[in-house]
């Protein structure tokens, strides 16, 4: 039965809506586990010559070699080539994940990061032997400070959530130093889950507040909970509904008046570069996701990079070492008595920083401003093109992403998840679904500036076809995807009886 539907659907898609479908089925290989291909005695590495005497450790200290798979070089190459073909990346097609900014990852950035002087540099080199690396760090901090309108930047945090933690630690250290430690932090209901989790790590209790009817925060809601035991507020602007928090400055004033600080989640920075500077909005500390806004690859989940930018009052609390410049020499400075300490073993995710640095140098000020304008144009274009087809819970001008719901499709028994799975068959990665949590059945689309009008038109066409299918043949959606390597996976049994190793 399942098979029958799949076959019908493949034909159906191609016949009815082929102009919107960018995918077809192809030859996908099966591939066993590495250990399924292992044969005793194979080895895929060139063993260095034994030019010194062998020196055996006390057998009490050693054990048999770990049972790693034994493969030839070709086995390894074919294994990972086949695995890669089961994946969808930005280079494969449009990846409109809201809040994730899946833009094109320029290839020249990879070339720069792979230069031997960067990729082969030891992190504990004497300062005179790593001037190039320190200069790059110094410059990138300056550029990010300019883009955010802040005073100082640290590049140490490893990812967005790690930057949030660093930012909260800065706020924590600030209160400890300047007044008294506070116990709470205000977090709007539209926030990323990492916000409250990061605040908890600093021992803060999260005070959740609701956004207003039009999807943005009201100064009243903040004033109602802000007090002198509250360390501050964590606010994402543009927020996760894709809306600009218009009252940000009044909110910042309310928080500041009670001695609190404003944390900005910079996940959505791609909407506002060169348009507004967080430093001008009353934000005291903001993290940036270099793997979102600054074009570094997501790598199937990481590594990312999450620098934070702060106002002058928070600079003393940044992690050490700091890179400083004295007479054209760059030096690492550890002597910062108020510093929060250290966030990462060495100097941040350096090779990711090289990529972001290359991107900024390639784009320049006008280029980055154009990025934000075109990202916002693309999102508004999608919003206007799909209004009527999908329910728009907040009908306001959007920033770089727009949020719809499955309300219109619910009568046909079709959910957001069904539409998300179905759009794979058309050759697109699904949008972010069921986030933000405050919108029931959310479909959050962030096209980014690097998608062309033709691609976006195809995406819009695909969504319109799916909306039509939802009315005429909802079963196609409920059993989707049909062209992917696998059909829907059983996540419930995966969690109930976890099998986490082979």
């Amino acid at each position: 039965m399942e098979e029958h539907i799949a076959n019908t659907c493949r034909g159906g898609v191609q016949k009815c809506h082929n102009t919107h479908q960018t995918a077809t089925s192809g030859l996908i290989f099966k591939e066993s586990f590495l250990w399924g291909k292992s044969r005793e005695g194979r080895c895929a590495v060139s063993i260095p010559a034994q030019d010194v005497e062998e020196s055996l450790l006390d057998p009490e200290l050693t054990a048999d070699a770990p049972e790693l798979p034994q493969l030839s070089e070709m086995d390894v190459v074919r294994h990972y080539t086949r695995l890669s073909q089961w994946n969808f990346g930005v280079d494969s097609g449009m990846y409109p994940l809201g809040s994730c900014t899946m833009k094109y990852n320029p290839k020249t950035n990879e070339v720069q990061a792979a230069r031997p002087g960067f990729s082969g540099a030891h992190p504990l080199l004497d300062e005179d032997l790593c001037q190039g690396a320190l200069e790059m760090i110094y410059n990138l901090e300056q550029y990010l400070a300019e883009i955010t309108g802040m005073e100082a930047v640290t590049l140490q945090p490893a990812a967005g959530a790690h930057g949030e933690l660093a930012g909260m630690l800065a706020i924590h250290a600030y209160h400890a130093k300047t007044g008294h430690q506070r116990s709470k932090i205000i977090i709007p209901d539209t926030a990323h889950g990492t916000n409250p989790a990061s605040a908890t790590l600093c021992g803060y209790e999260s005070i959740n507040i609701h956004s207003g009817e039009d999807g943005i925060l009201t100064p009243e809601a903040v004033a109602a909970v802000m007090d002198e035991e509250t360390a501050g507020i964590m606010i994402t602007n543009p927020n996760t509904l894709g809306l600009f928090e218009e009252s940000i400055k009044e909110i910042a004033d309310i928080v500041h008046a009670k001695g609190g600080l404003v944390y900005g989640d910079g996940a959505n920075m791609n909407a506002i570069m060169g348009i507004v500077k967080p430093g001008d909005l009353g934000i005291d500390v903001i993290h940036l996701n270099l793997h979102k806004t600054f074009s570094t690859p997501h790598g199937g989940g990481g590594p990312g990079s999450g620098p934070i930018a702060v106002v002058k009052a928070l600079e003393p609390f940044l992690p050490v070492p700091r890179v400083e410049k004295k007479d054209d020499r760059y030096t690492l400075v550890y002597d910062k008595p108020d510093s929060m300490g250290r966030m990462l073993t060495f100097h941040g995710h350096f090779s990711i920083l090289v990529r972001a640095y290359s991107y900024i140098l390639t784009m320049g000020a006008k280029g980055l401003t154009d990025v934000s304008k075109l990202a916002v144009l693309n999102a508004n274009y999608i919003k206007e093109s799909l209004r009527g087809d999908l329910h728009l819970p907040y009908d306001r001008p959007c920033m770089h992403e727009c949020v719809f719901t499955d309300k219109f499709q619910a009568d046909n028994g079709v959910s957001t998840l069904d539409m998300a799975k179905r759009i794979m068959d058309y050759g697109f990665h699904p949008p972010t679904v069921y986030f933000p949590l405050v919108v029931h059945g959310a479909i959050m689309i962030e096209p980014t500036e690097t998608e062309s009008k033709e691609t976006i038109d195809q995406f819009i066409g695909a969504f319109k076809s799916i909306v039509q299918e939802a009315k005429e043949n909802p079963e196609i959606l409920k059993s989707a995807p049909h062209l992917a390597k696998l059909s829907r996976l059983d996540e419930v049994s995966a969690a109930r009886k976890p099998v986490l190793r082979g």
Binding site: L34, I47, P48, V52, A63, E67, P69, L71, V76, L83, S84, N87, V90, D91, T108, Q112, P116, A121, H122, L125, D126, L129, E135, A161, H162, L169, H192, P196, A197, F244, D280, H291, G299, G301, G302, P303, G341, R342, L344, F346, F350, S351, V354, S358, G367, L377, Y381, P397, K421, M424, H429, F435, K453, A484, L486, E491, S493, A494, A495, L500
Partner: protein
């Protein structure tokens, strides 16, 4: 601009659809007074040629493994990276994908990480491994926090002073604001951890020891286990040199609860220290306490085998303030790299290369001893060790730098009593000639 595909005509048509007159009008919800008044002050945009020239110049101002012989480990190790690894990991289906939240079109990442989890547990003798953490220092911090959460009545942990100094700094940064304390265990004259202060500590949740430790010495993990069991506290170990476990008895052999490790040695470029690979692995009983993503096996609707991210109810996007950690992005691509490296070496290769690392380090030790260096700690090591330098070494070290040799790392700044002590490392990338040249130059 080559990354921005919009033609003037496209912009015109798209603006018409949205009802705006110009790109500048697209931001009606941003109050005018907030808008940036002048262009950002950034360098003028570079062509690819100009960028290449600038980056080549910056990169040439660093000593690297291709220009220098850097005899330093201390948490970042020079190892040969087989050509197939950068080649395969650069496949853009891996590199340009997001976190595999849509498993039907992410099976490549998912199977790759499942294989990583499997091989890591095999390497370390544990039962479950996460899909990765940022680096060893952050993984160690989170491991200690698991112990503190499980042992609710305690708010202290004991950590060896021979854990990498930077890792201890991270632990302190993580623990103190949360109201926890870390107590350091001193070292013994043989270069291993003095565990005796544990006898009188009755309020700790965990003991953490690194092996091989920062001095390179192999710790007696059996003894740590014995004490941890007696005191009913968590036994946590860490390591910075993953390759050591191609040779040494692994932490699982000693009944460890949680292991936090650094996987940089497994095919990952040193890149001035990052990104590395945080390894987090434990016995099965803590699976629901581990921070970050886990890949699990399941079936699809047609009964085909496949993989998904699982047990996500531990994680921040579900649990928010009650999550076991705030981690979201991890170092997944480096986990995949490490899996490729383990598959490339295999059982035979990892043993041989680990043994050669030890051989080269022993040869280096002999050569340095012949040159007047003293080895203060008698405890066996894997591929790095501490020496006390002869008088006048500091000046000599400066002069050999000009000849492309970086002779060890001064450790006095981390251990003030160890004046004139240096940490040296040798791996398979150094030939006998390299080591003899170092010894010759230092004479």
């Amino acid at each position: 601009m080559r990354y921005l595909p919009h033609t003037d005509q496209d912009i015109k048509e798209m603006l018409a659809k949205t009802g705006y007159n110009s790109l500048d009008d697209l931001f009606p919800t941003i109050p005018k007074s907030y808008r940036v008044k002048k262009e950002m002050c950034l360098p003028k945009p570079l062509t690819e040629w100009e960028l290449n020239a600038h980056m080549a110049e910056l990169s040439s101002k660093n000593a690297s493994t291709s220009s220098h012989k850097v005899f330093i480990g201390a948490g970042s190790y020079p190892h040969h990276i087989p050509s197939i690894i950068p080649y395969l990991i650069s496949r853009s289906e891996f590199m340009t994908a997001y976190t595999p939240y849509q498993p039907e079109i992410s099976q490549g990442t998912l199977q790759g990480i499942y294989e990583f989890q499997t091989m890591i547990t095999e390497l370390l003798g544990t039962e479950v491994a996460t899909a990765s953490h940022y680096d060893c220092g952050t993984a160690l911090s989170e491991a200690l926090m698991i112990a503190l959460r499980k042992k609710k009545k305690q708010n202290k942990v004991a950590i060896s002073s021979l854990v990498h100094p930077h890792h201890r700094q991270i632990v302190k940064t993580y623990l103190e604001p949360a109201g926890y304390q870390m107590v350091e265990l001193p070292s013994k004259p043989d270069g291993t951890t003095d565990l005796s202060p544990l006898d009188t500590m009755d309020d700790i949740a965990a003991v953490a020891v690194q092996s091989p430790n920062f001095f390179g010495c192999i710790e007696n993990l059996g003894k740590v286990k014995e004490i941890a069991t007696k005191k009913n506290i968590f036994f946590i170990t860490s390591f910075t040199e993953a390759l050591a476990y191609g040779l040494l008895k692994n932490p699982g052999h000693f009944g460890v609860d949680i292991v936090a490790g650094e996987g940089q040695s497994f095919g990952i470029a040193q890149s001035f220290g990052g990104p590395g690979l945080g390894i987090m692995t434990s016995s099965k009983q803590y699976v629901r306490d581990l921070p970050g993503r886990l890949v699990g096996r399941t079936k699809d609707r047609r009964g085909e085998d496949g993989f998904v991210l699982t047990l996500s109810t531990r994680e921040q996007h579900i649990k928010r303030e009650k999550a076991s950690s705030n981690i979201c992005s991890n170092n997944g691509l480096n986990a995949m790299t490490a899996a490729m490296y383990m598959a490339t070496l295999g059982k035979v290769g990892i043993r041989k290369i680990a043994q050669i690392n030890h051989d080269k380090a022993m040869f280096l030790k002999t050569k340095l001893e012949e040159t007047g260096f003293k080895v203060p700690f008698a405890t066996p090591f894997f591929n790095e060790f501490v020496v006390k330098a002869p008088d006048g070494f500091e000046a000599k070290r400066e002069s050999v730098k000009k000849r492309g040799i970086v002779a060890g790392l001064a450790i006095e700044k981390y251990y003030p009593t160890l004046k004139n002590h240096y940490l040296f490392c040798a791996t398979e990338v150094f030939s006998k000639d390299d080591i003899e040249m170092l010894a010759r130059e230092l004479k």
